[in-house]
């Protein structure tokens, strides 16, 4: 695994630029979603907002344009009894705070 390059060590990502803060991407399955909004209540970042109209699945709100407020903690996924939430992409920042020792794939605990 590659450690940080010189510029990466030097520079801090800009917290309003989507290309430098790659927050997590969630997918809500509208077929499975019951609209109970348990995920919205559980999200520690208060980042999930219920759907606009009744029957719409929830969505993740943006802290800044293009930056969803999600760091893939998995609480919503664990809470949803219908299994309607998938984490499509984990949380990654760039430059100084880049993840080095974790891959981007997310997996359940494996029973070795």
């Amino acid at each position: 695994m590659r450690y940080l390059r010189f510029l990466e060590k030097l520079l801090v990502p800009n917290y309003v630029k989507p290309k430098q803060i790659l927050t997590a991407v969630l997918e809500f399955d509208s077929d499975k979603c019951l609209g109970c909004n348990l995920c919205a209540k559980i999200c520690p970042a208060r980042g999930i907002s219920p759907g606009e109209r009744k029957g719409d699945p929830p969505h993740v709100i943006d802290i800044f344009p293009g930056i969803p407020m999600c760091m893939a903690c998995g609480d919503c996924q664990a809470a949803c009894r219908q299994g309607a939430i998938t984490i499509k992409k984990g949380y990654q920042t760039t430059r100084l705070f880049k993840r080095i020792a974790q891959a981007t794939e997310l997996t359940r605990p494996r029973r070795y």
Binding site: M1, L10, L11, V12, P13, N14, Y15, V16, I21, K41, I42, P44, A45, R46, I63, F64, M69, M71, A72, C73, G74, D75, Q77, A78, A79, I87, G90, T93, L96, F97, R99, A101, Q102, A103, T104, E105, L106, T107, R108, P109, R110, R111, Y112
Partner: protein
Amino acid sequence: MTDNKESQTPPVGRYQPGMPWNPVEKVIFERRSVRAFKKDPLPDSLIKRVLEAGRFAPSAGNVQPWKYVVINDPQIIEQMERDTVKHTRFLMFFLDYTRSLLRRIFLAPLIKLGIRIVPNQLHHVPFTLMQQIAAGKAPVYHGAPAMIIVMTDKRGVGTPSLETGICGQNMVLTAHSLGLGTCWVGMIKILIKMRKWRRFLRIKYPYKVTDCIMLGYPKMRFDGQVEREVQLVDWHDPSTGGKPKTERLGD
């Protein structure tokens, strides 16, 4: 053995590849930080049971470089909440370069230099959390009925903060195994910048405080399995020669 693997909980103390979780592993893999608590107070005996687990945590030289403070009073925690929010608003007034275009142009370079110098407190995640706290959109102590602070004795052997963490995690795992919910809260670092709270909590040499543990009955069942990033491991063994291979743990 012809047991049905899926329904047996193996006893602690033995290992078979692929076997289901034993009770200790189950607590570890299903632990989730709880941020919604019932208002019900905790009996003293339950808090003490959780603290006992910390008493037996390992530490270099068994010096046990920690001191426990228990806040079992919702009114004090409410006051802490109010003061933390107030002080966070004050700090973010100076630090939040994202608030306006003028700030983004003129303040950002200075703040980013500051972030480079103290990256731990100003990483994107705590920065965003502080923005949300300052805006009143995120609670700090999550309305928990009790708080445990494990203070670090700076005179400890080796790395005393590490040992405070180990002690704290012993308490967290025990609490979850007893049906409680916990949440580590690092934002107490902001509260203790205020002298009145340092006095109240008696934080002075040789002690320092970095985090606290919120404790209470969870409002609903939060614990369960989730996904997490695959961990990349530098794996050295006789087959790899000098250079380690990169093992993808969890894949």
